[in-house]
Symmetry: C2
Subunit: 257 residues, 2 copies
DNA sequence: AGCTTGTGTCAACGGTGTTGACGTAACCTG
DNA sequence: CAGGTTACGTCAACACCGTTGACACAAGCT
């Protein structure tokens, strides 16, 4: 885990800090996550991290090249956590939806990280595991390699994109969020029917926009993929489909351990 | 435009700076955009902005409360620019796709701005115009009010979400981007077939993931909406039941507060 | 002409990430 | 059990950052 330390070799000389803590890459990642969770996103600082660890801030640089490197390691850990306990149900469409939702939720749980690091391909083990699973679901559904990759990409990026979007709302201070919402209602609440006829017509439905659209977007994506799979299945014979699905299911069970 | 100045009143005493430039909110927004466009996102700094303007950095605070206020004003301008020249073609699906793509492109054109400003509802005229147009397209396609709002929301948020995602890549310096891509290929290029069977199988298609998935996602969304519209048209009487079910299902996904 | 005051400038504060030098303690060798 | 290497924690410093309060001055009004 957390492979990209500054010095990739295993550590032997584990000297405790002045406060007695024995540092490690994992411990630092833990502290970073706790800091972000408890203090809020903008409270994350190398100096505060050092204080939370009971160590000099610069000690972090013995383990990570820079803060971004550290945040990437944190992002990968979150990916792993979000997928804990996930196992294919047999319905590839529902599984893909679940996969996207899990990515969304975990990204959203840590707004700062979501807005900053879901944008990067971490390329780390947890991420690779998820990609393998997701692509496997689509291959099992009968899509060819290129289409499976493209559809997986569209689905996951959509989930993460919504997360990045919604994370921004969470990053706002509560007071400002309330003010924003009020301003929104003020502006959209009373619309001139002649100038904005469509907005006027749907004015009673506009509060629907306050909720995240991620589930709806995922539903639509999966629906489109399902339809496409059915069309493909009608054209060819669906014999291969069941075999591949079995392969995916077996792999998911193995991952849990 | 640019409404949220520190002092909303119109300015009268326009004293030139030491370098002879006469400041204004618009001029500052212009300079900020030029700076971001030319120097890159992370080059944006109040101090550098001051230098680019030929003024003391603190002069900016006579026009905007803080940097975020300034960037919001900039975001507002971009919304207007992105929709310039848009006109419905008659194919509502294609128009919706175009609407989403325009939102995506304009957000992406200024990565730094996209990363944080797509999260805010500006509630200003430009935005209202876009919402009215998009909802109108869906109403014209035969969707009821609630569905039109929800589908518009899903489409636009997906486009903006992808923009926020892809903007992160653009925010990286070119050298780092290349290094990232190389690292990505190294990690995903040679994966053990036994551990990652699906990734191994699609390994030749993985470069497809380097490109943005926004068009593919929009295509899938529009395809799903088209299919739904056809179904609704075919069985007009059964619409009410499905609608009620939708409303119940949609209530679970509120943004966390 | 004189007064008010808006506005540009200056200096400063308290932060930030990051680095290079340094000492010391932990491990390896003998 | 002694000595040497050196990894790693610490310290001080650098170059930035956003933001603010005091100040000077010129624009505009009376």
């Amino acid at each position: 885990m957390t492979e990209s330390e500054r010095v990739p070799a295993e550590r032997k000389r584990r000297r405790p800090t002045s406060s007695g803590v024995v540092l490690s890459a994992d411990l630092i990642v833990d502290a970073a996550r706790d800091l972000i969770d408890s203090q809020g996103a903008q409270a994350f600082t190398v100096r505060k991290l050092g204080a939370a660890l009971g160590a000099d801030p610069s000690a972090v640089y013995r383990y990570f090249r820079n803060t971004e490197d550290l945040l990437l390691a944190l992002a990968d850990r979150l990916i792993g956590e979000s997928m804990a306990g996930f196992g294919p149900s047999g319905d590839w469409g529902a599984d893909l939806r679940e996969l996207g939702l899990r990515a969304y939720r975990s990204a959203l749980r840590h707004p700062q990280i979501a807005a900053f690091s879901t944008i990067r391909v971490t390329g780390r083990p947890h991420e690779q595991r998820v990609v393998d699973t997701g692509v496997g679901l689509l291959l099992g559904a009968g899509f060819d390699e290129a289409t499976a990759v493209r559809h997986y990409h569209a689905l996951v990026d959509t989930a993460l994109g919504h997360a990045a979007l919604d994370a921004g709302v969470l990053r706002l201070a509560p007071a400002q969020r309330a003010a924003d919402e009020q301003a929104w209602q003020d502006r959209y609440g009373s619309l001139p029917a002649d100038e904005y006829p469509n907005l006027h017509r749907v004015r009673e439905q506009l509060p629907l926009m306050a909720a995240s659209a991620v589930e709806r977007a995922l539903d639509l994506l999966v629906a489109a993929m399902r339809r496409e799979a059915v069309d493909r299945g009608a054209a060819e014979s669906g014999a291969t489909e069941r075999e591949a699905a079995d392969r995916v299911a077996g792999e998911g069970a193995e991952r849990a351990g």
